[in-house]
Amino acid sequence: MRQTDIAIVGAGPAGLMAAIQAAEMGAQVLLLERANELGGQLIKQTHKFFGSREEYAGERGFEIAHKLMDQLVQLSNVTVWKNATALGYYPDGVLSVKQGNSFCLVKPKKLIVATGASEKTLAFPNNDLPGIYGAGAVQTLMNVYGVKPADRVLMVGAGNIGVIVAYQLLQAGVEVAAIIEAAPKIGAYWVHASKIQRCGVPILTGHTIKKAYGTDRLSGVTVCRLDEKWNQIPGTEQDFAVDGLCLAVGLSPLTELLWQAGCKMEFVPELGGYVPWRNADLLTTHHNIYVAGDVAGVEEASAAMVEGKLAGLAAAFALRYQSENFAALYHEAKSQLNALRSAPVSAKVCNGLCKVMLGEAV
């Protein structure tokens, strides 16, 4: 059995940042990543991030991923396992892992769960036809592997992800027929929404999918308008001949490990589903398990990175590692999080966080 100070599950923005911070404090870190590449969803983000310089504002997601990986390889006390899926965490503190085709056990003193989130789908007739994708899948195909998901796509969801991925589809040379959104108004930042509308892509608010159709694969989608009570209005059907339908309808936290470890969980719609109770240091109700990023509540990559930083610092500190600038880094991370969440669009997230916040930390 392998011993380590801190095991981190997931090497996306939160997990990478946690690994870097904990290792810089001196802790032995084992970073586990299910995919065969590090970076999580960052590697498929081609848009420039917002925020301040500390959160890499003005840089594109895949560039940020490369920067974090460059920092990580400098740290000799970090071990990275790719193709490694964490399977379970047991009462004796043992984490079981499938790496490639072999099974192994790890005993970390502290565990940081940074597993991220999975995409939600929508219920409508024929929603399983080939050609209907989650927005993340579309990004993976075109931005990581250079393959077009379809020739002509209808996008569902006018939040940031829907609008940004619609623009990325145009950049890849794919036609975007329209963006439909069930809510009466656009959820995305105006800068993104305006950009896609200037490119001639209409955003139809108050619209939903009535059905998808096609025999072996998607050949079209019927949409219709919704009234103020979210009921479909008969006679408002509109047909889109598309071979791709992209769903950007939200994410839900990937919390299986936390449930299995016995962390106290709560259903918080504002955070995307069931999330763990945690204190301000991202420590859950399990005294050795920390969380960071979307698994703790769906937000943006910028917030995930700062949460990762905080969880990494707190976990290393709990193991009595110290560094000269610990206090400064710790307080800086907390004020970064507050600043990121101070915008009016973050009100929903803040409401959600209040429902699962345990008393004071460190």
Binding site: T46, D128, G131, G134, A137, T140, Y145, V147, P149, R217
Partner: protein
């Protein structure tokens, strides 16, 4: 179809390899997921559901959802969205749960 020119991204050069999809020879790029190679070759339907035999395609592309399970080199239930392509692979459309023996 592959993206010819992208305003921001450059895609790494990879070696072209041949593999077999349902008895037909197809080309793809070594190391990309099998799903990317099949997509580039225009293949969308990857398996058929076990109860109603409905066609299933790629949905999440990161190994979460099990929509893309196929039989690869005789092994059923391979998540082809995260399985790297190698020359000579035998990739088959899977019916239902697949046959283990």
């Amino acid at each position: 179809m592959r993206i010819a020119n992208h305003p921001i991204l450059e895609f790494p050069q990879r070696e072209t390899v041949k593999f077999v999809f349902d008895g037909k020879e197809v080309t793809g790029l070594a190391g990309e997921p099998i799903a990317a190679a099949l997509h580039a070759a225009g293949v969308r339907s990857l398996h058929h559901s076990s109860r109603f035999h409905r066609p299933r395609g790629l949905f999440c592309a990161i190994g979460n959802c099990s929509s893309c399970l196929m039989t690869v080199d005789g092994v059923p239930n391979v998540r082809i969205c995260v399985e790297p392509l190698r020359a000579g692979m035998q990739v088959e459309t899977q019916e239902g749960k697949g046959k283990l023996v």
